[in-house]
Symmetry: C2
Subunit: 214 residues, 2 copies
DNA sequence: CCAGTACCGTACCGTACGGTACGCCGCTTC
DNA sequence: GAAGCGGCGTACCGTACGGTACGGTACTGG
């Protein structure tokens, strides 16, 4: 249930190679220039005409939406290896989620796209925020919760509500990082620090919800 | 160029009553209309002339900055009652922080202002994000950390780094709430749910960092 | 009563940017 | 090689909005 399911869910056909190049140009511009993205700049950067842009994507919002979807499509989930769950595997799986989630939100692209989506949610007609939410917070939730449930089934975790447990995990991992980055804090995380943060979050989560196998 | 004008440029002087009314008009407009705030709309709403707006606040950014500062000035800290700290008092203080923090970030005004600041941080020249950060995340941190330190001094908490401990607290309280609201999620919290959330966060924090008094 | 100040209302200017029109080129197809 | 087409480059249009100018009004001090 990877690429196929995703496409079916969104109901949007994948962009052609040329269109992908355009969307990559948009991403590059967003990362480099901040969010004052103009259609002229996109056309220049992507070496295409504005008319083509409008033909392909409808309007500016359509281009932004396609860009967000495009970026989301490449941050596809990690392995969802099923199988028996012991304490060590559970910890590894959670650590994996925590690391990849921190990698994503600390990335320049994610920050810029979230900024766009948030600004968009401020004005009316914004489904852009919903898209980012669906591919960020909700997607990770949908992937983590089954792991938590499996952990409970294996007697490794104890909780009443999977959603609440996940949200705690989310909070322990993300803490103040995303809001600080969105607000322009210079905070930067290297791979080592991300690993450390993720490990701490997992430890704390297991301290709260873990239980020795009976 | 008078002394008054200079102080206005720096934006550090308290606004007059009339100016406060203008800033309240900006806040109302932001809450009602989303973030497509125009100087014309502000002037109309506040029954003042655009020329006066520019005279008082310099430019659009100055108006926004003054508005953010104005809002920040009214979300002034709770009581910082010193005194002996027992387990119950510590829990109360933390609960207090958690509730008021959730109250703030769940508020329409906070959401809109954060959106503005985040959008602003996306373009260059954005000290607006820094201002919101200073009056939000950093302010609450500066107020909570002494409490945590006091808790440690009283033998009620155990941690190495106060900053890390606070950030965990922050994560447990806020979880995914702020990002979801910023992205336009319809999520709404009534007072009862906020109290429940805050209590859960405090319980979890104490479970992680608390220790019985020796 | 006059001068000065502070401010409102409104008309105005300049520009940036979303969106459109059009001419031209290279590619495919018959 | 003519026809058709997809797409590049550019010129262009309309408008929204930031910022300025200016006339008119109320109030204060002399």
């Amino acid at each position: 249930m990877t690429a196929t399911a995703t496409r079916e869910e969104t109901g949007h056909e994948a962009p052609s190679a040329r269109q992908q190049a355009v969307l990559d140009a948009v991403l590059a511009l967003l990362v480099e220039e901040g969010d004052q993205l103009t259609m002229d700049a996109v056309a220049r950067r992507a070496s295409c005409s504005k008319e083509t842009l409008y033909k392909w994507f409808g309007d500016r919002d359509g281009l932004l939406t396609a860009t967000v979807r495009w970026q989301a499509s490449r941050v596809h989930a990690g392995r969802d290896a099923g199988g028996p769950l012991d304490a060590e595997t559970l910890r590894e799986r959670l650590l994996d989620f925590a690391v990849s989630w921190l990698d994503v939100i600390a990335g320049r692209t994610s920050v810029v796209l979230n900024r766009i989506a948030i600004a968009h949610a401020g004005s009316r007609k914004g489904n852009l925020g919903a898209i980012v939410l669906a591919n960020g917070r909700l997607a990770i939730g949908a992937r983590v919760k089954p792991v938590l449930e499996a952990g409970r089934a294996a007697g490794l975790l104890a909780f009443d509500d999977g959603e609440t447990a996940f949200r705690t995990f989310f909070g322990l991992v993300g803490r103040d990082i995303q809001i600080r980055l969105l607000l322009g804090d210079a905070l930067e995380l290297d791979a080592a620090e991300i690993r450390r943060d993720a490990a701490r979050a997992v430890d704390q989560f297991l301290a709260l919800y873990g239980q020795a196998r009976p």
